[in-house]
């Protein structure tokens, strides 16, 4: 007789909402006639993500371990789930934008038609869209929300795959420049599968060393039996797998290629949501399972943080493509986030709340920045070459102004959310005595600031090219995204108090 595990359905509502919407999406894809699919799928994906967001707010304050110990629903988990669901809803709006491109959508009409064939050219301006992207994205959102709540390494692995597998596919579904998009999908897939094999080997070694995969039992085993070679090796491999997803250097090689090749709305989704999810899992693993033995991971994370900041900032300088530049910016930001992880200080530091706030602020700003990238277009789709952005302020002062503001936020200029976030994580690192890391982070933010400002200077002080790109008039979805992200970036910079308090109160991890 097998006993069913106790399930606290109330605590799982956000997950059930999102996965439910994704499953209904699959049914719609199979049974609804073609012309109603697009509006239905958009509505469903929005209902799922917004519903997930609202239900996390409704159950805020819960702190329990459920599903037979496999899931931890706690302050930090719910904060991250709300962040992921909210950012995902914004990304879905970007997915749904159809007014910008004469080709009607950022997504391919039929992914099975070979790129460049006569049929493919015919379909370029077709009304049809491969509407599978919406349920796939919703599944990815569900996986991410499961990832940050996983209290057990096996659930963490399953969630990792549930979030990755749909992402590999939707990376390859761009309508224009399909070869680049497919290449991005292949690279992301092969490297992603490679990294999850490392995660899995780490899981096996930790299981061998401690006899359990439950995070709380690993912690008990670590504090009673100490740490052996097997355990440290396993932890190292787990960290490699997670850092890959968080696009932290030196595990970042896929990031620029995939960010550039994927359809821009998908890039926005990955840059914001995947990062939140991966850091959620990193925090939970290091804090819940290995919080009492932080000497095992601290030197490793310390080194990786420095490498990531330096690689992101220095290589970002050499980029000539806006999307690649934002990809390197995301690598540098992953390094700054790791400063907050170091600030955990075995659970006593303010690193957890600082990292939560930083993830929210960075996610909102980065979605806004990629939304602006979708606006600047020439005859061949998006104009992502830096040189094409020269003199953009004269063509469209508003677009250039919005982009400038978002870039300043990414650079961490005061009165933007980027400053508040950076201040919080650096302070957390200094509080636990990691001031060399904070100094390094300051220096690299200055270097990174240079390439953001270079784009600003290019937009304002260069003469526009004769055949330069035009700035598309955003439809309702993109306008909403831009308004929300700019407003949030401003509010979190000027009056961050209430959200910082919220992050502080949410900064608990059970398990």
């Amino acid at each position: 007789m097998i006993e069913a595990p106790d399930l606290s359905l109330a605590a799982l509502t956000p997950l059930l909402f999102v996965f439910g919407a994704a499953l209904v999406g699959v049914l719609v894809e199979s049974f609804a006639p073609r012309h109603v699919r697009q509006p239905t799928q958009v509505a469903l994906a929005l209902v799922g993500t917004v519903g997930g967001f609202v239900s996390t707010l409704l159950i805020a304050g819960r702190s329990e371990v459920t599903a037979g110990g496999a899931l931890a629903v706690d302050g930090a988990g719910l904060f991250l789930q709300a962040t992921i669901a909210g950012l995902a809803a914004l990304s879905i709006l970007l997915f749904a934008e159809r007014g910008l491109d004469p080709a009607k959508s950022a997504f391919v009409a039929s992914a099975a038609v070979p790129a460049g064939s006569p049929r493919d050219r015919e379909l370029l301006t077709d009304e049809r869209v491969q509407t599978e992207v919406y349920p796939l994205a919703t599944f990815a959102v569900g996986g991410m929300m499961l990832f940050v709540a996983a209290n057990d390494l096996l659930v963490m692995f399953i969630a990792l795959e549930v979030l990755s597998l749909p992402l590999y596919l939707i990376c390859g579904l761009a309508r224009r420049r399909r070869l680049l998009s497919q290449e991005a999908a292949v690279k992301y897939f092969l490297l992603g599968a490679f990294a999850s094999a490392f995660f899995l080997y780490g899981l096996a070694l930790v299981y061998g060393a401690t006899g359990s995969i439950r995070l709380s039992e690993i912690r008990e085993s670590v504090s009673t039996d100490g740490t052996g070679t097997l355990l440290v090796l396993g932890l190292g491999l787990l960290i490699v797998g997670l850092m890959f997803k968080a696009s932290v250097a030196p595990f970042h090689t896929w990031t620029p290629d995939v960010y550039q090749g994927a359809p821009t709305p998908v890039t926005a989704f990955m840059a914001a949501c995947t990062k939140v999810a991966a850091f959620g899992a990193i925090l939970r693993l290091l804090y819940v399972a290995f919080g009492t033995a932080d000497w095992t991971w601290r030197p490793l994370v310390y080194g990786i943080a420095i490498v990531s900041m330096v690689v992101g900032a220095v290589l970002g300088l050499t980029q000539t493509d806006v999307k690649r530049m934002l990809a390197y910016s995301s690598i540098a930001h992953a390094g700054f986030l790791l400063t907050g992880v170091i600030g955990l200080g075995g659970g006593t530091g303010s690193g957890l709340s600082a990292t939560l706030f930083y993830l929210l602020a960075y996610g909102l700003t980065t979605i806004g920045a990629f939304a602006v990238v979708t606006l600047v277009r020439d005859g061949d789709g998006e104009a992502t070459q830096l040189s094409q952005w020269a003199g953009l302020a004269r063509r469209s002062p508003l677009t250039a102004g919005v982009m400038t503001f978002l870039l300043l936020a990414l650079a961490g200029i005061p009165l933007t959310s980027g400053f508040t976030g950076k201040f919080a994580v650096f302070r957390a690192a200094i509080e636990v005595g990691a001031w060399p890391l904070a100094v390094g982070a300051l220096v690299t933010s200055a270097i990174a600031g240079f390439f953001y400002l270079r784009l600003v200077v290019l937009m304002y002080f260069s003469a526009p090219a004769e055949d330069g790109p035009s700035v598309g008039v955003p439809g309702l979805p993109t306008t909403i995204v831009l308004a929300v992200t700019v407003a949030a970036t401003l509010v979190l910079g000027v009056v961050p108090g209430s959200v910082l308090d919220l992050a502080d109160r949410a900064a608990t991890l059970v398990g």
Binding site: A115, L165, Q182, E183, A197, G208, D257, T320
Partner: protein, 99 residues
């Protein structure tokens, strides 16, 4: 025959897989090397389950197999779509994305 032998065998298989991913050029072969890595993990898990006297490790191995099967579906679909355009599954030919 001690259990350590199985662990060493699994580590060797994992290394062969990892090196294969790095040196082989055909996307399908790279993918097979990843599968080899996953299966070496399965061997490790089952060995540890035996050593610990619990079935957890064996159950995890089942999960890994299911995930690997799902990964095959996605992976072959992606490799197939790029092959139909380029008539090549070599990862060296996929070189449009760089500086």
């Amino acid at each position: 025959m001690t259990l350590t032998n199985y662990l060493v065998l699994a580590a060797i298989l994992f290394t062969i897989g990892a090196v294969g991913v790095l040196v082989r050029r055909n996307a399908i072969v790279v993918f097979m090397c990843i599968e080899l890595m996953l299966n070496s993990v399965n061997l490790t898990l089952v060995t540890f389950a035996r050593a610990n006297g619990s079935v957890d490790g064996q159950v995890i191995a089942f999960f890994v197999m299911v995930v690997a099967a799902a990964e095959v579906v996605i992976g072959l679909a992606i490799i197939m779509s790029i092959y139909r355009t380029r008539r090549s599954a070599s990862v060296d030919d996929a070189n449009l994305l760089k500086y």
